[in-house]
C-alpha cells in the first residue's frame, strides 16, 4: 500500500499541548490519483489529520510520510508549497483580486510573470470561471460557490502532488454543492492528485472518495470503498450512511442488527 508519491500515516497520535488526546494511533495511506474522504462528527480529529500532513502540527507519536519523507524532516515551507490546502472558510486574501489570489504560491516560488499569468488563466478555465470576467474581481464580489472554486484553484496553482480539502463545500447551498462535487470529480480525474478530503457528510464522502474513512474520537474506526460503506453492517457506518443511500438487499433488518 506504500506509495512514495502519496501520504502515509503510521500509528500516529497527537495530543494538545496541555491535555486531550486528539488522534489515537491512526494509520492510513493514500496514493496519487486517489481520493480518501474522512467522515466523522466534529471533534473526531479529521482536521488534525490534515494539519499534520502539511506540518501545521507535529505528531506526538508515529510517523507521517509525505512523498516518502517524514514531515519532521521536511523543510516546513517546502512541504507546504507542495501540499495544496482548501479550507471551509476559503481564506481568500481580501486585499488581492482573484488572479492575484490564485498566483500567490507561484509568486512565492518566483515564477516568471508570463508563466504566472498563463497558469492563472489555465486554472480559471479548469474551475469553470471565465478568466476575462473573473481574473480582476475581488473576493467580496464573488458568490460562495465562486469563492470556493477560487480557493481550489489557488491550492492547485503550483501543481502540488498532494491536495488537502477541509469541508470544502460545507458552507454552500445543496445545488451549488452538487455542482462543485461534480466538477471536483472531473478535475480529479484529469489531475490525478493524492487528495485527502474531510467532510461530516457521508453522502459527499461516498460521492467524492475512492475510499472512505470513518473517524470517531481520534480513531479511524472504519475504512473501505463507497460500495463497501453502502453495504456495511457496522452500526457506526450505517448511522452515517442513513436511509437515503440505496442499501444492497440483505436478509436481516439492518436496524435490528444492533
Amino acid at each position: 500500500m506504500l506509495q512514495t508519491n502519496g501520504v502515509e500515516f503510521r500509528r500516529v497520535s497527537y495530543r494538545l499541548p496541555r491535555g486531550g488526546l486528539i488522534l489515537d494511533g491512526v494509520s492510513l495511506a493514500v496514493g496519487s490519483g486517489e481520493t480518501l474522504a474522512l467522515v466523522g462528527a466534529s471533534g473526531a480529529g479529521k482536521t488534525t489529520v490534515l494539519k499534520l500532513i502539511n506540518r501545521l502540527l507535529l505528531p506526538e507519536a508515529g510517523d507521517i510520510l509525505v512523498q516518502g519523507i517524514d514531515t519532521r524532516e521536511w523543510d516546513p515551507i517546502r512541504l507546504r508549497r507542495s501540499v495544496g490546502y482548501v479550507i471551509q472558510e476559503v481564506g481568500l486574501f481580501p486585499h488581492l483580486n482573484v488572479a492575484d489570489n490564485i498566483a500567490v504560491v507561484p509568486r512565492l516560488e518566483a515564477w516568471p510573470d508570463d508563466r504566472v499569468a498563463a497558469r492563472v488563466r489555465e486554472l480559471l478555465d479548469l474551475i469553470g470561471l471565465a478568466p476575462d470576467t473573473y481574473a480582476a474581481r475581488w473576493p467580496d464580489e464573488l458568490s460562495g460557490g465562486e469563492r470556493q472554486r477560487v480557493g481550489v484553484a489557488r491550492a492547485l496553482a503550483a501543481d502540488p502532488p498532494v491536495l488537502l480539502m477541509d469541508e470544502p463545500f460545507g458552507a454552500l447551498d445543496p445545488i451549488t454543492r452538487r455542482q462543485l462535487q461534480e466538477e471536483f470529480r472531473r478535475i480529479q480525474a484529469r489531475l490525478a492528485k493524492c487528495v485527502i478530503l474531510v467532510t461530516h457528510d457521508m453522502t459527499e464522502a461516498m460521492v467524492l472518495g475512492d475510499r472512505v474513512g470513518v473517524m470517531e474520537a481520534g480513531r479511524l474506526i472504519w475504512h473501505g470503498t463507497p460500495q463497501e460503506a453502502a453495504a456495511s453492517q457496522d452500526v457506526r457506518v450505517r448511522a452515517l450512511v442513513g436511509p437515503a443511500t440505496p442499501v444492497p438487499p440483505r436478509v436481516d433488518h439492518p436496524v435490528e442488527s444492533a
Binding site: 515551507i77 517546502r78 486574501f93 489557488r154
Partner: protein
C-alpha cells in the same frame, strides 16, 4: 476676529515661518514615531505576552503632562535640552501610543482563516507579514498615525515653551501680554492645522481600505511618500539652522524677549557672528539649566533672582554685595556674569491708582493697615521664592481677607485693574503699570533685594569668542528703568514686535 486678521496681515512672514515650523515638528515627529512604533507593534504581535505591558507603558507616557516631560528631558544629552530636538523627543513619545496600539489591533484583528491560509501556503513569517498582515492592517495603521499627528499638532503648541518655535509661540506671547488677539492668532491656525491633518490622513485611510481601486491606492501611497520626503528635507533644514555660532536665550515674557533681541542684535551688529535665538523659554530655572547644559550661550538674568532662586542663598540688601556674590557663584560653575545693563527690575507691590489716591497710600506699611479688607493675587513663583510672599508678609505684618490667590503673573495686572484682587506683586518695569493706571508702593523697609538685569554667559563661549564679551560689555548701564518700562509698554500694549523694539532702541542710542 478682525483684529486677529489684521495681526496676521502685519505678521505674514512670521506667521508663515511659525506654521512651517509647526508642520515640520509634527511631520518629523510622527514619522519617527511611526518608524519606532511599527516595528515595536509587530514585535508585540509576535510575542503576545509583551503586547499588553507595551501598550501600558506607552499609555503611561501619554499621561505625563508635556511641560513636565520637557522638564525631565532638559538635562538629558542628545534627545533632551531645549529647542526643536527636545520638542521632537516629546512629540515622538506622545505619538507612539496610538501608532503601537492601532497597529497591534490591525494585525491581531485579521481573520484567523486568512492567516492560516497564508501559513498553509508555505509563506515564511516575513512573507506573511509583508504580503498579508501589513497590507490588511494598513488602514488601521494609518488611523493610528492620523491620531498621533492630530495629537502632535496640539502638543507642538506647548513646544514653544522650550523654544522649539511653532504656533505655540503666539499663544505664549499672547498669554504673557494678556492679549487674546495674539493668543487667537496662534490658536486658530493650530486648530485649522489639526483639521487639515485629520482630513488628509482620513482621506488616505479611506483610499487604502478601498482596495479595489489600485490607482487611488497608489495615489494615496505617493501622497504618504511625499509627506515623508517633506519630513526628511525638513529635518535637514532644522539641522542646518542649528549651525549658528552663538545661541541667545530668554524667559517667556515681553521684557525678556526684548532683552534677548537687544543681546542678539548687539552681537550680530558688532561681531558679525551668526546668532540663533532660543527666546521664550519657560522660566528662570529652565533658562539656567539650558545655560548649564550648553543649549544656550547667553541670556539676561536678574541678580536677586540668581542669588535666591538659582543658588538658593538668602537675600542680601546691598545691591553691590549681591552683584559680587552672584558673580562669584556663577564663576564657580563655569559661567560669567557680565556688566549690569543699568536698571533694577525689582518686585513692585502694586495697587490700583484710584485706591492709592483715595486711601492716601504711598508705602507698603501704609497698605498693611487696609489689607485685612483686601484680596491679593500672586504669581506661582512669588508664592514659592524665598524672597517672595512669606518673607514679605512677615516683615510688613501683612494680613489679607483670604489666602492670596495664585495666578499667572501676567494675568494678575488685569485681575488687579478689573478689581478681582486688590494687591499684586508685579515687575517694576512692567509697561502695564502705566497702561492700566496702577500704583507702585514703596518698599520702605527694603525687603526686596536688588534685581539688576545682567547678561550671563557660558565662560567657554566667551573664551572662544572674546568679541562677544566686548560687545556685551558695551551694553553696560545703557538701559534705564524708564527705557525698559517704555519698551515693555510698546510690546504689551501696542503689540510691537520685540525685534523691532530692540532695533529701535539700539538705533536710538548708538
Amino acid at each position: 476676529m478682525t483684529a486677529v486678521v489684521r495681526f496676521w496681515l502685519t505678521h505674514q512672514s512670521e506667521l508663515a515661518t511659525l506654521i512651517a515650523e509647526h508642520v515640520l515638528l509634527v511631520v518629523i515627529s510622527t514619522t519617527i514615531a511611526a518608524a519606532i512604533g511599527l516595528p515595536l507593534a509587530i514585535f508585540a504581535t509576535r510575542h503576545p505576552r509583551l503586547a499588553s505591558p507595551l501598550v501600558a507603558i506607552t499609555s503611561v507616557v501619554q499621561t505625563i503632562p508635556s511641560l513636565a516631560m520637557f522638564g525631565f528631558l532638559l538635562p538629558v544629552p542628545l534627545i533632551g535640552g531645549v529647542g526643536a530636538r527636545a520638542a521632537l523627543t516629546v512629540l515622538v513619545f506622545y505619538g507612539l501610543l496610538p501608532i503601537v496600539r492601532s497597529t497591534i489591533l490591525g494585525i491581531t484583528g485579521i481573520d484567523a482563516s486568512i492567516r492560516t491560509a497564508g501559513v498553509a501556503m508555505g509563506m515564511t513569517p516575513g512573507q506573511l507579514l509583508r504580503r498579508v498582515e501589513l497590507p490588511l492592517a494598513l488602514p488601521a495603521i494609518v488611523a493610528g498615525i492620523r491620531l498621533a499627528a492630530v495629537v502632535g499638532v496640539g502638543s507642538a503648541t506647548i513646544a514653544a515653551a522650550i523654544g522649539a518655535g511653532g504656533l505655540g509661540q503666539y499663544i505664549y506671547r499672547g498669554l504673557s501680554m494678556v492679549d487674546t488677539t495674539v493668543i487667537l492668532a496662534g490658536a486658530v491656525p493650530a486648530a485649522l492645522l489639526a483639521l487639515v491633518v485629520d482630513g488628509s490622513l482620513l482621506w488616505l485611510e479611506r483610499h487604502l481600505s478601498r482596495r479595489r481601486r489600485t490607482k487611488s491606492r497608489r495615489t494615496a501611497l505617493v501622497a504618504a511618500a511625499a509627506a515623508v520626503a517633506v519630513a526628511v528635507l525638513g529635518s535637514a533644514a532644522l539641522a542646518m539652522r542649528s549651525e549658528a555660532a552663538i545661541v541667545v536665550g530668554s524667559k517667556n515674557f515681553a521684557e525678556q524677549l526684548i532683552l534677548g533681541e537687544i543681546v542678539a542684535q548687539t552681537i550680530e551688529r558688532q561681531t558679525g557672528l551668526t546668532v540663533k535665538r532660543q527666546l521664550n523659554l519657560g522660566g528662570t530655572l529652565l533658562c539656567d539649566r539650558a545655560l548649564t547644559a550648553g543649549e544656550i550661550d547667553v541670556y539676561v538674568e536678574y541678580t536677586g533672582t540668581a542669588l535666591t532662586a538659582i543658588f538658593g542663598r538668602p537675600a542680601i540688601e546691598d545691591p553691590k554685595a549681591v552683584l559680587g556674590q552672584v558673580r562669584e557663584l556663577y564663576a564657580d560653575s563655569g559661567r560669567t556674569l557680565l556688566a549690569p545693563l543699568g536698571y533694577d527690575n525689582t518686585f513692585a507691590i502694586l495697587v490700583r491708582g484710584a485706591d492709592a489716591r483715595a486711601k492716601n497710600l504711598h508705602t507698603i506699611d501704609d497698605a498693611a493697615r487696609v489689607t485685612p479688607e483686601w484680596r491679593a493675587g500672586f504669581g506661582y513663583e512669588f508664592m514659592e521664592r524665598p524672597d517672595g510672599y512669606p518673607g514679605l508678609a512677615k516683615i510688613y505684618g501683612l494680613r489679607f481677607r483670604s489666602p492670596p490667590q495664585v495666578m499667572d503673573l501676567t494675568l494678575s495686572y488685569r485681575a488687579l485693574a478689573s478689581g478681582q484682587v486688590d494687591l499684586i506683586a508685579g515687575d517694576a518695569t512692567a509697561g502695564l503699570i502705566n497702561g492700566l493706571d496702577l500704583f507702585q508702593l514703596e518698599d520702605n523697609r527694603r525687603y526686596f533685594p536688588a534685581y539688576e538685569a545682567v547678561p550671563v554667559a557660558r565662560a567657554a563661549t566667551l573664551l572662544r569668542y572674546p568679541q562677544v564679551r566686548a560687545a556685551l560689555e558695551g551694553l553696560a548701564g545703557r538701559i534705564s528703568a524708564a527705557d525698559m518700562r517704555e519698551m515693555n509698554l510698546a510690546a504689551d500694549v501696542r503689540h510691537e514686535n520685540p525685534a523691532d523694539i530692540a532695533r529701535r532702541f539700539l538705533d536710538r542710542t548708538p
